[in-house]
Amino acid sequence: MNPSAAPASYLDDGHTLRSWLFTTDHKRIAILYIGAITFFFFVGGFAAFLIRYNLLSPKGLIGSAETYNRLFSMHGILMVWFFLVPAVPVTLGNFLAPLMLGARDLAFPRLNLLSWYLFMVAGVVALYAVVGGGVDTGWTFYTPLTSFYSKGHVIAAVVAIFIAGFSSIATGLNFIVTIHKLRAPGMTWYRMPVFLWSLYATSVILVLATPVLAMTLLLLAFERIFGIGVFDPKIGGDPLLFQHLFWFYSHPAVYVMILPGFGVISEIIPAFSRKELFGYKFVVWASIAIAVIGFLVWGHHMFVAGTSLFSALVFSLLSYMVAVPSAIKVFNWIGTMHKGYIHFDAPMLYAIGFIGLFTTGGLTGLFLAALAADVHLTQTYFVVAHFHYVMVGGMVSAYFAGIHFWWPKMTGRLYPEMWGRAGAIIIFVGFNLTFFPQFLLGYLGMPRRYFAYPQHFEALNLLSSAGALTLAVGYILPLGYLTWSLFYGERASANPWGATGLEWTTPSPPPTENFAVTPIVTEEPYQYRQAETVNHE
């Protein structure tokens, strides 16, 4: 190719700070987001590290219970709203959605930039709340503790989450309209990669659940500021109403965190098995089903909260229903590997780790959906372990898998493969070491959010903290070698993995316009030709 004729890559389209901060290019906004959420991931991770340090001793090592409560609140708030919820949609989603669709940008590019600014403002306010002042209510903000008794910077935290919520809504709205309106010629719904379907399902949740959280937090702030409100039991209000509203958002939000991960895995498994995705339509509709049924199950967070027996039974039954589509996906991924030509590059290792950890997390979810078992296990470390298996073992693994998989596309450089594989394995081992003991702790009755704990829980806590150290190494490692590869990594070709999908037909990194010529789609996704030799090594 004649270099002068090749369109400039989006990275070379201006090098000034201004060219980045005022860009409406979805790819540059994705990079801005990666910077932001990486920062929040490590701040939240640092809080987690201090939590594990404190729990090394039954008496607590950081001196004050108040600090400890602030630490886990900070960890929860930052990780949920400033890392997990945005993680894949705003980074990989932003970067890839138009590329995968064969579009030039998202439907509303300026709204996209606005959402980043909202996110940053929210982030600054959140940091002020959790670092400057401190919030000690946990990320769940239960009333009346939060509305009347807590002394922390609750209002600032609530404002931060409110703003971040509108950033999420803007992102979700953008994706939905883009997928409806900007598909390339020939890109029918059933020719879209599963990643886009997952993104669509995620966006549905973002758009329909986030406003409920925003309003709930406003009601909470109203109650705290005026000392009166609809959750106040003193005037006949119901604190359980807050929990219902909170979990109406926060349970589907769990699927916001995991669905894009499903999408990433559904791209990676076929690419490294050189085989078509098994049961494409089932995987696609499982995503949509999760997005819808995910809204019907929030009551399972409240089985011992004092809700009616009848509603507990209804929510338990519905909770089982939502596990079915997840099970469908796991079996389909394994089905994809059957008779494939499996390669073990780092993204695939992360993806296999994801299947294992997510399945474990999902199965332990069954314990919590089974009413009587939930009574014993809820509000203990069992729950902590369960959602970390799904969120961290599942989602963060998927995020890393995706970052590695599309790294050459985003940066034009290859990451060092050996280091990538080492990182994947260390994270898998460290993760299990950290969180498996917590299942046992939970069964033995250790409650969540305890600054100090009875002596007999000490051994398992030690094990868990040792695992956390391993995990920390596992997370810092990619930060190191990926940064290194930005400067010294080998140049990547347009399609280093031999993968299908429109994003691989344009150069790495892509030009600002994405495609020199608008692509026309003529076939189904994942048309891997079996036994094809691949040129990536």
Binding site: L208, G229, V230, G236, G237, L241, L245
Partner: protein, 213 residues
């Protein structure tokens, strides 16, 4: 094929942009509907906790003002739609006049709601708290009602103020719009009517259910 032509099908045509803008607005309104959801659910909870006291609180509201305000918003939705029809048929002048009427009706709502009704309510001591004016058996439930009332109307009023800003913006930008290109007028119109719809739900919840039997 030049770059511009290549991307024509996605961004070039006004029709594409129009479609994206209209459907985007509808999706945003879906978000807004859910945004008001918790207020409606809190009404259900608060009234269920003590129906008679809640209704007693409701009967302290100013029905005539609420009714007038409902009429104002209905009329303004109508005048806005007429303005939209005007621009669709090429009459920019007609659009400006009818939108100005719609704006004035909306502003009158704000004036009545917050300048008159709220002031009356506050003077009567109907803001919940230690100085709440309703005593006796219905005190708790009535406080719950007024917590809902002030929160709900404030939030609706805020949306209406944003709407007023948008309508004013359309009026000042009138030069830009033609019979063929006026999607912002439609998009703002959707939002304007939506605020009306929210009020159509809030109105019976605040003023009527408590008075019905």
């Amino acid at each position: 094929m030049s770059d511009a032509e290549a991307h024509e099908f996605q961004f070039g045509s006004a029709e594409r942009q129009h479609e994206a803008a209209i459907s985007g607005m509808w999706l945003f309104l879906a978000t807004e509907a859910l945004f008001f959801g918790p207020i409606f659910l809190s009404w259900i909870y608060a009234r269920h906790a003590d129906p008679s006291a809640f209704d007693a609180g409701s009967r302290h509201t100013a029905l005539m003002i609420g009714l007038t305000n409902t009429g104002l918003l209905l009329a303004s939705s109508f005048t806005y739609s007429v303005g939209l029809a005007c621009i669709a048929f090429g009459s920019r002048r007609g659009m400006v006049i009818w939108l100005a009427i719609a704006w004035a009706l909306g502003a009158a709502f704000i004036g009545l709601k917050f300048g008159v009704e709220w002031r009356m309510d506050l003077k009567e001591g109907l803001f919940p708290g230690p100085n709440f004016a309703i005593h006796g058996p219905a005190r708790s439930g009535a406080q719950l009602f007024f917590a809902f009332y002030f929160f709900g109307t404030a939030l609706h009023g805020l949306h209406l103020v944003v709407g007023l800003g948008l309508v004013a913006w359309i009026i000042f930008q009138a030069e830009r719009f033609t019979a063929e290109r006026h999607s912002p007028v439609r998009v703002v119109g959707l939002y304007w009517t939506f605020i009306d719809i929210i009020w159509l739900v809030l109105f019976p919840l605040i003023y009527l259910i408590g008075r019905a039997s």
